[in-house]
């Protein structure tokens, strides 16, 4: 296990460097000089020159590249113009809230998808069709649409759950119990919107995996000895599906991070996605680039975790990955 771990971590480092390089190259594609403006209104040439010096954009490309990569690795992501504080500080606060939302969503997504998939695999023909169709439809529902529908019905019409934000405005003064409940109530709708469509996809995948496992010789032999269908699904299907799902886990993270940009913006959830979106609206390059770098870091770390999970469950993975 130890050499596998080492190899896998070593393989992740160039990936991160590559992502940082890609982001830097995108920045170089922008035409014109920074802070240059049309003659007349706007920044005077002298002020523009000073801004270029302060921001370091007058230095040669190689120096800027090294400063960018070195900065990210050292935890310095630059200074956000719109937030008026270091990007690293803004991202740190927001990333914790994104992890709360996306972490809850990913847990719900996999639990629900796995359960639904096992149920469909164990069910009779008619229930199976029903569940499969439901999962397929759920999978095709856009998460942002689901979010709007949920807000429209549960918040606006019924008034059961809050529309947006992390807490109620005066929650800071409340005792711990109600404060926790308040936070949980705020989490429900964005979490459902983020988790449900993906759960449909996982359910379809798990169902097919389990069915495939059950059609193999071993399971057929067990069945011929009189093992019941439900036990078959659990004993012979679930383990294999769990293996396959551990691979899906790494693939789900980019989608979840991307999806959380829209969901956080819709629900005014003060996480990284909303921060990046607001940075985009404010054309705050350091902030958006910093968020993108952290997102890449999270994706790479997530797929690392997924690979380690897969290797922990399945010795074949440990051997096969070069």
């Amino acid at each position: 296990m130890r050499p596998f771990l080492l190899r896998r971590v070593l393989a992740a480092a160039p990936l991160l460097l590559g992502s940082l390089t890609l982001l830097f190259l995108l920045l170089q594609l922008v035409p014109g000089r920074p802070f240059a403006s049309e003659a007349g209104a706007g920044v005077s040439p002298a002020a523009a020159e000073r801004l270029r010096q302060v921001s370091g954009s007058d230095r040669p490309v190689a120096a800027r590249y090294l400063a960018w990569v070195g900065g990210v690795i050292g935890g310095d992501l630059g200074y956000s113009w719109s937030e008026r504080r270091p990007v690293a500080d803004a991202v740190r606060d927001a990333a914790a809230r994104t992890l709360l939302l996306a972490g809850t969503a990913i847990a719900l997504q996999f639990a629900l998808g796995f359960g639904l998939g096992l149920l469909a695999a164990a069910a009779g023909r008619r229930l199976d069709r029903l569940l499969t169709a439901a999962a397929g439809i759920l999978y095709s529902v856009p998460s942002f649409w689901l979010g709007l529908l949920l807000v429209g019905s549960f918040s606006v019409r019924l008034g059961w759950l809050p529309v947006s934000q992390l807490h109620s405005p005066d929650a800071a003064a409340w005792p711990a119990g109600p404060r926790f409940l308040d936070a949980a109530r705020h989490l429900v709708l964005p979490c459902l919107a983020l988790a449900l469509p993906g759960a449909g996809g996982i359910a379809l995948f798990v169902r097919d995996e389990v069915r495939a496992a059950l059609s193999e010789g071993l399971a057929r032999a067990a069945r011929s000895r009189g093992l019941g269908r439900g036990r078959m699904v659990l004993r012979h299907g679930a383990g294999r599906a769990l293996l396959a799902v551990s691979v899906l886990f790494g693939l789900a993270i980019p989608g979840l991070l991307g999806g959380s940009i829209v969901i956080e913006s819709l629900f005014a959830w003060p996480g990284m996605g909303r921060l990046a979106y607001q940075g985009t609206l404010a054309r705050d390059e350091p902030l958006v680039l910093g968020c993108a770098a952290v997102a890449a870091l999270l994706v790479i770390a997530g797929s690392l975790v997924a690979d380690l999970l897969a290797a922990a469950v399945d010795p074949r993975v440990r051997e096969s990955l070069w």
Binding site: L23, D128, S140, L266, T280, A296, V299
Partner: protein
Amino acid sequence: MVTGGEAPALTSPSRSAGRVGAALLAVLALLAMAAPWIAPRPPDLQEDVAGARLLPPLTRAHALRTSSGIHLVTDLQRTPDGWSGRRLRAIEIVRDQDLPAPPEARLYLLGTDTLGRDLTSRLLFGLRHSAGVALFAVALAVLIAIAVGSAAALGGAAWDAVLMRGVDVLMSIPRLVLFLVCATLFPPSALLLVLVLGATTWTGLARIVRAGLQTLAGGSLRAAARAAGAAPLRVLARHLLPQLVPALAVGAALRFADTVLLESAISLLGLGAPPPAVSLGGIMASGRESLAGGWWLTALPGLLLAVLVLSLRSAATSLDRTLDPPSLA
């Protein structure tokens, strides 16, 4: 499958679902292509902003061309010396002498938006825009994928390593995050959407091309073509790539579904193509402000989008299973 009474349920439901999906897809494609001709009104026509605001689906209204502009009223009734109708929750009466032309009937099949524009027309044009952007983006992605996948598979080990690590890098930044970076750096436009969506969706397709070519490259077909004196590029274009068309078609259809979802999310955030372009996400954004007053503004574009995605995915999955049926052994 011989054990038990149940046939493998993988194939039969998905085949009929695939047919339904393909049929729906054809209908949606026709609607999108024919939008300029079948839309009841121009999508940005604002005849009477206040009077036509947020009319629910299936509203019958009448346009009264008075000297002070067009007034849209519902519940039109004849009075002794003119017409009366409902506008802005009040009764409006127009006398015959103020009305040079008779009232014109209007049917708002799917209602109107917050600016009094016809939602049927906007949905048709929105579908056309969103699907069009996704189509161009996926076409671009297929071209990049063929170029990169072929170079990786046939160009030697060094090219293969460099290009496939590039694919890994591109895949490690979420597409929407990458789009936000580009939207910060460049002004919004339909072209930016196509370029960025296309440049971020080819990675999976390139892996399909590469894997397919690696399988084919060792085969006798390539050897025979080379022996007959065909140039390498000609072998690629004439003998190898055509065999990858089915796998690429399935992959492209699935990417199309993802891309159309992403385009709508971007437009919902207000970062898509600027007006007068109409996008499904943009229509949904306009409905966000009136969730209580106009459910149809969010519900209908999302429904259209979900149907498009569902039919794309079921058609693609069904095609995939037809080409490569799960083994029944």
